[in-house]
Amino acid sequence: MKVAVTVNGKKYEHDVEPRMLLVHYLRDTLGLTGTHIGCDTSQCGACTVVVNGEVVKSCTIFAVQANGASIMTIEGLARGEKLHPIQAGFWEEHGLQCGFCTPGMILSAWGLLKNNPNPTEDQIRHGIDGNICRCTGYQHIVNAIKWAAKNGKAEDYSVEGDTSAQVVESRSPYTARTADQAGGR
């Protein structure tokens, strides 16, 4: 089956097996290996990417389901040499040790801060509860996200092809609630 996507601003088109997972498409076909596979079963969040402005675990969807979408992976987050505030926060606050969960953790945090620029500690912990880290005990990750909330701007959270606002109504109550909290952004 044909799949045509834009990933980190670059267009790709491939013929893939219908059952190919998006994460394998990104990693093996496009060579974007910053997105990791931790569990194969959507538990750990290491494979988290942004699809049309929305945070998605890329092992839960097929590549062909992303046809026409605009995708951002960890490789597309920094602006050239300039780190995104969340990346800078993880570096500043020691938000990682082995780094394997980190790309997914950063992109989940991106989704959280996009919808809720000034989250409380509880909201941060809730916001990343789909991502597992085995090294840090989470406290430094929470600190890193706080750092990013303090040092980020609205434009750090704009992304090409973002349609997430349009579909919020049909989403789960939690998604809708966090979108409500988005306020000024």
Binding site: M20, T33, H36, G38, C39, D40, I74, C98, C101, T102
Partner: protein, 488 residues
């Protein structure tokens, strides 16, 4: 940034930029031209004799290059390594693919190489094996009296038995005790579970006869030595590269069959081979941690001073001895003194084979198990004596002036001063708003702290070394005395 002292200095990690931008290379990120993917077919039963393995359907899957069983993969120059071989251990022999018998759920029985991950996995699922099922042996205590032997050379399933300390002196201490307390503690198995599962990429260069291996390993040098031995290659012809590692926690401190299979098939097909473990097979086939049943007795005098400690550790080794398997519970026996001045210690260790995943190094590797049993019996004794648990510990700490201190298990501690650390731990709960449940919090803090000293095991003339004696007879206690001791 001028750093005057490293203590307390804030240093940004130099490896972080690549890790936070997706630029790091982990084992599965290694991409090579013409690469094949490996997949393993595994035993669904805990114990059985392999009657037949049918690989014909798997071979028909488009993209499959080859399917191997123990019969077709070819001979290896050595079994998978067992790094310790303590005197008297009834050793196991394991090859990358099970020969005749499977001894655990997840035991590899066949190996597929294919052009894609998906084809390899499809084919592995189509491999059909016929087994003559044998009884599973899963309980470490029951194993010693089971009529089923996991290994022929260990008919009572006992791998080895060792003793440390002085039995007669300890019994004398107990005979004169004011009080004795006993505990039975189950230190349960656990999964090391790093975020990145195991994985390996092997590349064979036929011209120079050079094998290059990328592996998510904690022991690149040992891996190289052992791959060379198993594959009959000169060691200088094996290069092991460990790229970024997504956590190990001890479980990547090993040499596994899949490492060897990837190398062997890379050499057979003259193409690179990659194998990446999935999470489910990681639970079966990567080593587990802990797995002990501990019987502990402590003798104290009327002043709350410890007179003696007796322990009997039943250690579940699982089905095969991996590279450090036997070493782990022996480390428990060496650490039985904890941070206490215990004048008489006798420790017995009975290591047992079961039809379960092997145990091996996990975070502290045997030593936290010892600290756990010591600190648990300290709490029990304090309660029994009606002494505050902190006070009971103060009375029994090794005093700072006693260092270097030789424990009765044959280990030298070079230095230590435990009371200030206890004071600090006791201060934490109140500052963290735990005043209401102070004693409970304090106990937790102490247990944590209990493993924070730094012993060394260097040899010293005056220190008693452990006696590595394996007994030839049946292990340990009768069922009745075991029941009598299990009251708690």
């Amino acid at each position: 940034m001028a750093i005057k002292t490293m203590v307390g200095a804030r240093v940004k990690r130099t490896e972080d930029p690549r890790l936070i931008t997706g630029g790091a290379t982990y084992t599965d990120d290694v991409r090579l031209v013409d690469i094949l993917y490996g997949a393993v077919a595994r035993s669904p039963i805990a114990h059985g004799r392999i009657k037949s393995i049918d690989t014909s359907k798997a071979e028909q899957v488009p993209g499959v290059v080859a399917v191997y069983t123990a019969k077709t993969i070819g001979d290896f120059a050595a079994p998978l390594p067992n790094g310790w071989n303590l005197t008297g251990v009834r050793a196991t022999r394991r090859y990358p693919l099970a020969v005749d018998l499977v001894r655990m759920v997840g035991d590899p029985i066949a190996w597929v190489v294919a052009e894609s991950r998906y084809a390899a996995r499809d084919a592995a699922e189509l491999i059909e094996a016929d087994y003559e099922e044998l009884p599973a042996v899963v309980d470490v205590e029951g194993a010693l009296t089971s009529s089923t032997a996991v290994w022929e050379n260990a008919p009572d399933n006992m791998a080895y038995r060792i003793e440390v300390g002085d039995k007669a002196a300890t019994e004398k201490a107990f005979a004169g005790a004011h009080k004795t307390v006993s505990l039975r503690i189950v230190n349960q198995r656990l999964l090391p579970n790093p975020m990145e599962t195991r994985g390996v990429v092997a590349k064979w260069d036929a011209g120079p006869q050079q094998l290059t291996v990328w592996a998510t390993s904690q022991i690149p040098h040992l891996l190289r030595t052992n791959l060379a031995a198993v594959l009959a290659l000169p060691e200088q012809k094996v290069r092991v590269i460990v790229p970024e590692v997504g956590g190990g926690f001890g479980c990547k401190l090993n040499v596994y069959g899949e490492d060897v299979l990837a190398c062997r098939t890379a050499m057979l097909h003259n193409r690179p081979v990659k194998w990446i473990e999935d999470r489910r097979e990681s639970y079966f086939s990567t080593i587990h941690g802990r797995g002990q049943v501990d019987y502990v007795d402590l003798a104290v005098d009327q002043n709350g001073k410890i007179l003696g400690l007796k322990t009997k550790i039943l250690a579940d080794l699982g089905s095969y001895a991996q590279i450090n398997t036997e070493a782990i519970p022996t480390l428990s026996t060496l650490m039985l003194s904890g941070c206490y001045d215990i004048p008489a210690i006798y420790g017995e260790l009975i290591a047992v084979y079961t039809t379960t995943t092997p145990t091996d190094a996990y975070r502290g590797a045997g030593r936290p198990e010892a600290i756990h049993l010591v600190e648990r019996i300290m709490d029990s004794a304090a309660r029994e004596l009606g002494i505050d648990p902190a006070e009971f510990r103060r009375r029994n700490f090794i005093a700072p002036e006693k260092f270097p201190y030789a424990t009765k298990t044959g280990v030298i501690y070079d230095s230590g001063d435990y009371e200030p650390a206890l004071d600090k731990a006791l201060a934490w709960p109140t500052t963290r708003g735990c005043a209401a449940s102070r004693s409970r919090c304090a106990r937790g803090a102490r247990s944590f702290w209990g493993s924070a000293y730094r012993p060394t095991s260097r040899s010293a003339g005056s220190a008693r070394r452990p006696r590595w004696v394996a007994s030839a007879g049946r292990a340990g206690q009768s069922a009745s005395s075991r029941a009598a001791r299990s009251r708690s």
